[in-house]
């Protein structure tokens, strides 16, 4: 009952005219930018983050969340219709594009839309029951536990996003080191600033995000130079009743999997999609058809995608630790707005918390309204040639960077990170862990120092405290497993090479 009461309270906030407007704008703009080839949710959020600076806190958060799941959805639309995958919609390409080839684009899009709606709804129920509970648990956390939790997040994200633990960890650590630039909080000593005054406050988050994800991505797309032909086929949206019946069970399965995988550290939409898709392949009644354009292949992953996009807010809002790079960006946005997410957020800003939760459902409705009937118009975005789009994106990167501090110098930093990010992309190194490391780095350092201060310089509490001890043990087991796997593989390759 408490939950219902709280949700009603949240809807009171989410349904004000202003917040409805922000939510609608967020969803629409997010979908629009998400549709653009090469721009995934991370790039979209960092591009649009500066837009929210002049908006009141509650509205800004609602709009950002809208941008996030709008971008997520826009991604899957471009994946289904034209097989343009981003990191966040690889799975949607498989069956979704197959359905397009069979002339069932409308059905695929309708399935994705409805499943996303179901997934989102389930996730919001999970979110509104679990987040306050987890918030209570989070009060038990000491600095050492926070450290261990962040380290777990690093390891999981490194592994999940890059597939290679070493590369991911290297990226995370570079991110942490970049986070060290600026004035040291404890001693006030400027670190690594090279005596440049604009580095004294540290490197701007937006500079890194826009550089690595905005500029680097579009430049990479320029290199590829394959112009996508816009989708011109007919779109028949409304499914027949038997088709509709096939959506529901898959979507529900996907929602459950997505909600669960969304909460875990390192989890989030990408992992959830793969999990749901694998589950459909195994448990669906129509599993033989999956891979060749089955409704289930689209429904399950779309539901999981949206569900995970929402439940990944749980660790952020109840513990204050983001579990993937997108959430880290959200954390930064929260902090810019003067809200520190964490166990205290629900108590001290109930209007923000429940308003955001309720707005997620409102955003769900908007997405269905915006996308299912209007999808034809969205697709005309692709008719804009890239040579027009890409200077415009550059322009928005510049404005975005500039508007934070009204400082033109910051654009140099963005340009530098554009170059670095481009090198990373060309070397197949995923920059997402870098962003996570950058945002969590200062928090990690602070908690680490505090924990050492409390224990008078001993490392033992890290191991003996139940929460941090367990997490560290898990990390150790995981790393050991990776090392063994690597050694086994190396032995096999040398064995093959020897004779």
């Amino acid at each position: 009952m408490d939950v219902l009461h709280n949700l009603a309270f949240g809807f009171e906030h989410a349904l004000t005219l202003h917040n409805l407007m922000y939510c609608a704008i967020g969803c629409a703009v997010g979908t629009l930018v998400g549709l653009l080839p090469g721009l995934g949710p991370l790039a979209t959020i960092s591009l649009l983050l500066p837009l929210t600076y002049s908006i009141p806190t509650g509205g800004a958060l609602i709009m950002l969340a809208g941008i996030y799941y709008g971008a997520q959805y826009g991604d899957s639309v471009s994946a289904i219709t034209m097989k343009i995958p981003h990191a966040s919609s690889i799975v949607a390409c498989i069956d979704g594009y197959q359905m397009t080839l069979k002339g069932k684009t409308g059905l695929a899009l309708f399935t994705a839309g409805i499943s996303s709606f179901i997934g989102g709804t389930v996730a919001i129920v999970v979110l509104s029951t679990l987040a306050p509970m987890l918030g209570e648990v989070a009060f038990l956390f000491g600095p050492a536990d926070y450290c261990a939790l962040m380290l777990t997040g690093f390891v999981c994200v490194s592994f999940v996003t890059t597939g290679s633990l070493l590369n991911g960890l290297a990226m995370t650590m570079i991110g942490v080191l970049l986070g060290q630039v600026g004035t040291d909080v404890n001693s006030g000593v400027p670190r690594f600033t090279m005596d440049l005054p604009f580095l004294a406050d540290g490197i701007g988050l937006i500079s890194i995000a826009l550089g690595c994800f905005g500029i680097a991505e579009i430049t990479k797309n320029l290199d590829n130079r394959n112009e996508h032909t816009p989708f011109n086929g007919k779109i028949h949206l409304i499914p027949s009743w038997p088709e509709f019946k096939r959506i529901i069970p898959s979507a529900l399965r996907g929602s459950a999997i997505g909600s669960l995988l969304g909460i875990l550290p390192g989890g989030g939409p990408v992992l959830a999609q793969f999990g749901a898709y694998a589950a459909e392949k195994r448990f669906s009644k129509y599993r033989q058809e999956i891979g060749s354009g089955a409704i289930e292949g689209v429904a399950g992953q779309a539901a999981a995608d949206e569900a995970a996009a929402r439940t990944s807010f749980i660790p952020l809002m109840s513990i204050g630790i983001p579990e993937n790079a997108v959430m880290a960006l959200m954390l930064a946005a929260f902090i810019v707005k003067g809200v520190q997410p964490g166990p205290n957020m629900i108590a001290s800003h109930p209007d923000l918390f429940w308003g955001l939760v309720a707005s997620m459902w409102v955003g769900n409705v908007f997405l269905v309204i915006l996308n299912v009937p209007l999808v034809r118009y969205w697709l005309s975005v692709f008719k804009i040639p890239y040579s027009v789009l890409f200077p415009s994106i550059l322009f928005f990167c510049c404005i975005g960077t500039f508007s934070i501090n009204n400082s033109l110098q910051d654009i140099y930093i963005t340009a530098t990170f554009g170059f670095i990010g481009y090198m990373f992309l060309r070397l197949d190194l995923e920059p997402a862990p870098l962003l996570l490391g950058f945002i969590l780095g200062p928090m990690l350092e602070e908690n680490f120092r505090r924990a050492l201060l409390l224990s008078r310089g001993h490392f033992i509490p890290f191991l003996t405290r139940p929460i941090s001890g367990t997490l560290l043990a898990l990390i150790a087991i995981f790393i050991a497993w990776q090392v063994f796997a690597f050694l086994a593989q190396a032995r096999r390759t040398t064995a093959v090479a020897a004779p």
Binding site: S164, P391, I399, G418
Partner: protein, 128 residues
């Protein structure tokens, strides 16, 4: 994942590692030594993996960076309208086709957007 890690990249990372030792505080030292460790592991591993050639297209990234820097310089010393026009013209060299008329249109469009941002959202853009 296609492993194409050259020793050059990793030595670059080493330098970051060594560099941070000069800074105050224990934490950067700790992290950079960990990074050093990871870098060393990667070097070891790269002996097992076949090297692959990476193709960089330096022309495009250089053009993009140049247009960004030009935008900053022009906005600083002249005004942002010139900066926008320069950015569009310079960046579109990296595109597949080049057309002066189209660039003029894009620049005009972006300047209008910039004006709208300045007036409506109250961003403090040095347009003039």
């Amino acid at each position: 994942m296609a492993i194409a890690l050259t020793f050059g990249l990793w030595s670059f990372k080493y330098r970051i590692g060594e560099f941070s030792r000069a800074g105050p505080g224990l934490f950067p030292l700790l992290v950079s030594s960990l990074l050093l460790l990871v870098g060393a592991f990667t070097v070891v591993r790269s002996r097992f993996v076949k090297a692959e050639r990476i193709d960089f297209n330096f022309r495009n990234i250089a053009l993009v960076i140049a247009s960004l820097c030009g935008f900053v310089l022009l906005s600083e010393h002249l005004n942002m309208i010139a900066g926008i026009a320069f950015m569009v013209f310079c960046a579109s060299f990296a595109g597949t086709s080049y057309s002066v008329a189209r660039n003029l249109k894009i620049s005009a469009g972006l300047i209008v957007i910039a004006l709208a941002l300045q007036r409506l959202l109250g961003l403090n853009l040095p347009l003039f």
